[in-house]
Symmetry: C2
Subunit: 668 residues, 2 copies
């Protein structure tokens, strides 16, 4: 239970909770996988939140230097506690981690997120023996140095070289240009003493592409950079203040042959290169990372919605009727129109992330048994969903911030920091447009296959079922019916995939090279990938509403949210549904009037719906989003602690303002 | 000329400039009001940029404390220089100011932006004699304390009281609740020693609403807060680090009767209240402020586009065709689709701000001659345009940032800071949704008047001309024709205004109170206001393309940009045009194919189009957007200067990391 629950709750919020049509705990259990998991989650959270070693000032009162230092301190406390209390399972560790870091980022996250997993999947047994135990015990700290100043998403363009010298049986790691400097890896700037460096492998005069090499960066004695290593922090960013994203240049740095990870490819002592057996296996890790990003995107949107919805019930402003008390801001239809579709998207994405996680684990099982058949489909879906959810989340947090008016702009709201950190998800681990185009490439391929009567399955099966793109509008659809909604999204996605595929073909027929044709259709291709993801999210939401193990009241509110999510999406993308007259203008008008009703229907349950996310106040880090709704007194308390208030008269007065005022008074 | 022009330009950028179809200086002159103005602008900019007193580290390397102090220092230098060199005209002062502050905000901007103008417009002659000269000479520093913790946009809800005591002929200023604390005023926290406090006036037992009172806050001797005054900084925000937005609570603070500004309303010594003659006059200042916001929004979007477009020509990534060199990122259609519509919007908004400024000055002339007839129309337009342009600008900067990939997320790009500061424009001086609803109220009123055959004029005349909402699509429109485009936007706006008005009427007929009816239609009302603003911006752009005094080559490129702006808006809002079959699906397909052609047509002129904005590198404050395109070497130089790189080994290593590593090594 949130500690805040012990204080007296703002009566406006209390009234909201008393009036809800369902018990939020029921949805908390749905979102967190059952009552037992919820209890365990809360227990781990309290462990972190009550830890005196983890208390500190509000992040926005600290300098970047202090935040980086605090990040390190928390990391060490976190790891020591995990070891001490034997917190191990991935879910437990992640829950505990979230409660330790409270919206901060982790300077060493690349060590456990990339360095360790890469050792596990790409090091030979002998290499694991040498490195793994050191890494697992944090006797060395490693990062994963792939991205360079000049190249990110396009791996083949990376310039760092690793040239094998058979005379000494060493690789020579080298940064041949400024743009080949490794740039961005987390923990590279100041923290790590080792790195997995991705470099173009040259041996016997041939280039064999990117391979990973273990390079020691800093002395294990005094942490100074080793000879040939130029290393540092890349400077402040939008967010990620706690992370020392770094740069690395290597000047002919020699490492033993054994420092190339050789489970898949090998370079023999004489320099002979031996090819890897199967290159598709690496896709697994990428999918897992993307599934986590979908889950993080959902979480971030949930946080923003919690803050904005609670504050909109506490905030009273203006008047609907003269003479009556000022209404809660959430009673304005325009406010509901901003927040409730995002609230429904938060649920939709949460449920989509469940699907992705379950599918990933099922797929991993299949892959380990040699069955790679589903890999391309789920890989394409994970790329698209990563882009689709982070995009909505990023602009959604910003909408929530603005929906909180002026106070949303204060760091006290927690929203600026949430935005600055979360929006990075649109760019890292595959830039969103590139992700959508990956998905589109698969969709167009499937569409082509379905034209030759190949059978499609899983999330793309619909591409073969919807054969005709144009369906005359009936004008009598019941757009509150979940099946009708699924049908509309399915039709839109299939039509847009078909259109993009046909456009591609037409360009090719007109004499364009496949590459130029692809580029000249890419705006349409992105749109078809978005439509596919949107359809998936709607369908998955609908499926969950039907099958979820919840009581009737909870199912009813989920049903409303699901209708709202789908109808809002139709209205915001109405052209896609009207263009081929699948929907008529009259149906669109009905959709608008349904939306107005659904907003009103969600209104009394809005606070319970965000309470169900089960964020403690400490995790939310928002004065506006407090569980007890005591916003104003705490806004004042927060401001009083801010650094500029350490003295009544700021020192700049003596240095600048006083002489200036005196000079000016003398003129009068 | 930019100092950067003296360095060797990146050949990719040089090629762009050599290949442009027009001379950017021609558009620079159009945007800045002629060649003479451009020369003057550049002269003033150099004055600031070459001033050794104004040099400092990159803002993102400084703490908030340092940034506030730097803001004060710059303000003082700026004012002293203006006085010394007699820089006076509003345009000159603003140009010089921009070059002094370079994207920083100004702690004392409320002094000249609100405190001074309010004294000028609302103080009696006697009051001006006492206060104006002190304020003009900065012998006192004032702020404008209106917004409270509990109330922003809704002025009538403000709670601060000023109660007249005839016995002592004083007002007693008081903050009766915590939520009545003044909150947000710029310069209130630390800098100002006076404030214009807006408070509910009570005299002879009656409340007469909001009036302005001059209250001294701090000692002119030592700057300590006066008795009864509780004052401080409200804490860090998303942006505005240099500004001490503050709070103020007053505990029965007594001020002389003469400290109420009495040009319009008065309180006589015995407490008798005398009403103001005309309350509409205050609208003028509001409109001017909103016109400036439109102009700022255009400027901010221009900056973001300049950075993203230049960087997209320098950055090469991935491959379109195997074996060929990596293309410039701007050659990707998806990148063009992100940036060129924003580039066209930047031009459109710039031109709209010209219209607003010209109209404001013309209107001020009319008003001073007693003609208030145009006031409601232009007031409604200024509210809507403020919201419309800041909304597109805010999300547009974010799109530009993400279009720069990972490096866009670095503070070196200049985009995070630009966003964090500029996005505040969506909230201050009237929250955007409230602004749109103000515009909508006027539009619906005009629509109603036109139904009773009242003649409408100016920017709303079209509401009476388009009588029927539904026009059958002809399927043969030439959507590259500017008149067709204006017609489409006009039809959409008129239809949406009509629909909202009818919906309002239907709700009222069904028995809802006017207030409830208004609230339940407010989503549609916002949409019709947006459509009205969109139409205005398109029409104004089209008018400028026709009438601007530029050479043929420049007019041709403006024509292309204008087509792009309008067609992109149709595609992004296609449902609005398809819903009543004004456009057919076939026409929409044509629009899509026009858009693809227009993107390709803008491509070779993109760099020249951003060069025409004429930002020096110092004003852009972006490593990615440098005029010479030497991005990578300067990214490295920038990073090296960042605070975390002051030592090779960060001090936290000794405190935290070293003991941790030693502990872990011992376990092995």
């Amino acid at each position: 239970m949130s500690s805040a629950k012990r204080t007296k709750t703002n009566p406006d919020l209390q009234k909201e909770r008393d009036g809800a049509s369902f018990n939020p705990f029921s949805l908390t259990c749905l979102l967190h996988g059952g009552e037992e998991n919820v209890e365990r989650k809360r227990e781990l959270e309290r462990l972190a939140l009550d830890d005196p070693e983890l208390q500190h000032e509000h992040l926005s009162f600290l300098s970047r230097d202090e935040r980086y230092t605090l990040g390190l301190k928390k990391t060490i406390r976190f790891l020591n506690k995990c070891w001490e209390l034997d917190i191990t399972g991935i879910q437990d560790v992640n829950t505990y981690r979230r409660a330790v870091f409270l919206g901060m980022l982790e300077p060493l996250s690349v060590h456990y997120g990339m360095f360790l997993p890469t050792l596990l999947s790409q090091a030979t047994e002998a290499q694991q023996e040498k490195w793994l135990s050191q890494a697992l015990n944090y006797a060395i700290i490693g990062t994963y140095a792939q991205t360079e100043m000049g190249h990110g998403t396009f791996l083949r363009g990376l310039e760092t070289t690793a040239t094998y010298d058979p005379k000494t049986e060493e690789f020579v790691l080298h940064s041949p240009t400024l743009s080949s400097a490794k740039w961005w890896p987390g923990g590279l700037g100041k923290s790590s003493n080792h790195a997995l460096v991705l470099a173009q492998l040259y041996t016997q005069g041939q280039c064999y592409g990117m391979h990973p090499f273990i390079v020691q960066l800093r002395s294990t004695e005094d942490h100074t950079p080793l000879p040939g290593i130029t290393i540092g922090d890349i400077g402040p960013k939008f967010g990620f203040d706690e992370v020392d994203n770094g740069f690395l240049m290597m000047d002919h740095v020699r490492i033993p042959r054994e420092n190339m990870l050789m489970k898949h490819s090998q370079v023999l002592p004489d320099g002979t290169y031996i090819k890897p057996a199967n290159s598709k296996l690496a896709y697994g890790t990428m999918m897992l990372v993307r599934s986590y990003i979908v889950s993080d995107a959902a979480q971030s949107l949930c946080r923003a919605c919690t803050i904005a919805v609670r504050y909109s019930c506490v905030r009273r402003q203006s008047e609907i009727k003269p003479g009556e008390p000022e209404p809660q801001v959430l009673d304005y239809q325009t406010q509901q129109y901003k927040l409730f579709p995002l609230l429904s998207a938060a649920y939709a994405f949460y449920l989509a992330s469940h699907y992705m996680m379950n599918t990933y684990f099922q797929l991993s099982g299949n892959i380990s048994q040699g069955d790679l058949s589903q890999l391309p489909e789920i890989h394409a879906l994970s790329a698209g969903l990563k882009a689709f959810t982070t995009q909505v989340m990023s602009s959604g947090i910003d909408t929530c911030r603005m929906a909180c008016g002026g106070h949303g702009y204060s760091q006290a709201s927690g929203l600026p920091l949430l935005f600055a950190n979360a929006t990075a998800g649109c760019t890292y681990e595959g830039e969103n447009t590139v992700m959508f185009l990956q998905t589109a490439r698969y969709l167009v391929k499937c569409y082509g296959a379905s034209r030759t009567n190949e059978k499609l399955s899983g999330t793309v099966a619909y591409l073969s079922r919807v054969q005709t793109a144009a369906v005359a509008g009936k004008g009598t659809r019941n757009l509150l019916d979940l099946e009708e909604l699924v049908g509309a999204y399915q039709h839109r996605a299939a039509r847009l995939v078909g259109m993009a595929a046909n456009q591609l073909q037409a360009q090719a027929k007109a004499g364009k090279s496949p590459e130029d044709a692809w580029n000249s259709c890419s705006v349409q291709l992105v749109k078809c990938a978005q439509a596919h993801c949107h359809f998936f999210v709607v369908r998955n939401f609908v499926d969950t509403v039907r099958t979820a193990d919840v009581d009737d009241a909870s199912r009813a509110v989920l049903n409303t949210l699901c209708q709202l999510y789908a109808i809002h999406g139709i209205i915001e993308n109405s052209g896609d549904f009207l263009e081929d007259t699948y929907l008529t203008g009259q149906e669109l008008q009905q959709a608008n009037s349904h939306l107005a009703s659904l907003l009103a229907k969600v209104r009394p349950d809005a606070v319970a719906l965000v309470d169900a996310f089960d964020f403690t106040d400490e995790i939310l880090q928002s004065v506006l989003g407090r569980y007890d709704g005591n916003v104003y007194e705490n806004l004042y308390e927060w401001a009083k602690k801010s650094p500029l208030n350490k003295s009544q008269v700021h020192e700049s007065y003596h240095k600048y303002l006083r002489p200036f005022l005196q000079q000016n008074r003398a003129k009068l």
